[in-house]
Amino acid sequence: MRFLIVLIMASLLVAAVFAADGYAARQLLRADPDALPADAMLLRFGVRRGRPLFEARCAVCHRTAGSGDPARGVPNLTDNDWLYGTGRPAEIEKVIDYGIRSRNPKSWNLAIMPAYARPQPNPADKNIQPLSPRDIDDVIEFLMRRQGRQADAAAGARGASLFTGHGGCYDCHSIDAKGDSAIGAPNLSDDVTLYGDGSREALHMSIAYGRQGVCPAWVNRASAASIRELALYVYSISHPGAIENGY
């Protein structure tokens, strides 16, 4: 008889855990994603469930720790430097939902890095003209100067006028080269590099042959709850102490 009582109690306990989990999952989904960092309990719940999802779906590109891979142009998710948006959970969730250049109509797909050493740098925008090899070198010198590194001053000056002139770089990266997170144009004036090590060769590859990284859309491949949990996990690794501090 005692065994029966223990069995019933254990079943009730399991049922209670499941019910509590289900309740928390529903709360998580109904909450405003941007308000979740302030709710330590839900944040912890989401992060705990998001981690294995990240390891199963995202780590293949972003690596297990989320540190990314500059050799492949996979962004670091732990440095709180955001290519798209400002790192709010809702923005992270949108990227996971619809992806970047994923072919999903709702994906972030407003711009690509044109290949300035090709006859048609951006097939979608016929107004963008190729640059000459010297122009590309000048733009590189301008960027090196912008990052406070050693560079040819005369070439840098020519590069600056190309950047803000017929090169058209300012159109995405803005006049001060600080980028535009509304379209995923990286800040070119800091030391965070998306592709390569920031060397002249790496910059040359980006300017001459273009970039158009892709992040897949998970909206039809994962549940809404999983996507929110993933978003919270990514938020947590980019905001160390978020769970402890509850912000």
Partner: protein, 313 residues
């Protein structure tokens, strides 16, 4: 009519020195009361589970709006993610900062859209509206392509693809070439011997005497594609084969005799796998998507019953 339960009598019970417990509490005894209680509990749990599933399952008609949605319109969900995105797009606010009016307006707009979409399906607008047809084709292609977009190919598969299509992954050639043009009358005097011709064109006096001049078609370093546009196909073909420092043979063209002096010629260089990887991945996925689209189309054709008019067979 009465139901009689067989209750075995055990000798052990008679000689058991322990005090007797109520039969329903003793698992070693068969108890009708306990059996009925457990059966009732099982039925109750089953009914609760069935009821919960019935009212919350996606496919079933339900009165409860799932947590990931903000509304159900004729059982069709209106996604919460879309709601939040629309709130952000229209008013630039998140849910916690949106006013009650903003929330209602966005929700109302989405419900209205869903109602019209459902009505559109009833009216079969896809049969007549080319925009709807095109949107449907795109959506189905996207659905087919999703597997290829979300799967990550192995490094070995990417490397094999790279090796198969190595010619795609090369840098753009660069040349700095001077294009000298002479009148046709100068042809007899222009040596066919490259070294002698090089001496002639490097001498300003000889150049002036033969009325030779820089055509101005090229300047500074140019990528191959730019040089090809500026020089034309024939001159570019001749220039491409010249090594740095070499001079071409005189080339007769409608506008005179051309001599190309190649100052620097950097031929296209194949990229290594690491440098080309991003492009390889993109091309690999595009190819996978194209294959999936083809097989999707072939499946649709196979299962379809298509009748073609006699005159078009």
């Amino acid at each position: 009519m009465s139901i009689r339960f067989h209750t075995p009598v055990r000798l052990k019970m008679v000689i058991d020195p322990k005090p007797r417990r109520a039969p329903w509490r003793d698992p070693s005894q068969i108890s009708n009361a306990r059996s009925f209680a457990l059966m009732a509990a099982g039925v109750l749990i089953g009914l609760v589970l069935a009821g919960y599933s019935l009212f919350t399952a996606r496919s079933a008609s339900t009165l409860i709006v799932p947590a990931e949605d903000v509304a159900l319109v004729n059982q069709q969900p209106v996604s919460r993610a879309d709601y939040l995105a629309l709130l952000q797009t229209l008013y630039g606010v998140d849910l916690s900062h949106a006013t009650q009016e903003q929330r209602h307006k966005v929700l109302d707009d989405m419900i209205r859209e869903e109602l019209f979409v459902q009505r559109g399906k009833e009216l079969d607008v896809a049969a007549t509206d080319p925009d709807v047809r095109s949107a449907l084709v795109n959506a189905v292609e996207l659905e087919i392509a999703e597997n290829a977009m979300t799967s990550q190919p192995s490094e070995a598969a990417l490397r094999q693809f790279f090796e198969t299509h190595e010619d795609r992954y090369v840098s753009e050639g660069v040349m700095r070439v001077k294009d000298l043009v002479f009148p046709a009358s100068a042809l007899p005097e222009l040596s066919a011997e490259p070294e002698a011709l090089e001496r002639m064109i490097s001498d300003a006096q000889t150049l002036a005497r033969l009325n030779g001049r820089d055509s101005g078609r090229t300047k500074d370093e140019e990528f191959y594609f730019a040089a090809k546009i500026h020089l034309g196909d024939e001159l570019f073909a001749a220039a491409r084969g010249l090594a740095s420092g070499m001079v071409s043979k005189p080339i007769q063209m409608p506008d005179g005799i051309h001599v190309l002096e190649m100052e620097q010629n950097k031929h296209p260089v194949p990229f290594g796998f690491a440098a080309a990887r991003a492009q390889v991945l993109s091309d690999y996925r595009n190819q996978a998507v194209d294959k999936l689209k083809l097989s999707g189309e072939s499946f649709l054709r196979k299962r379809a019953n298509v009748l073609v008019a006699d005159d078009l067979r």
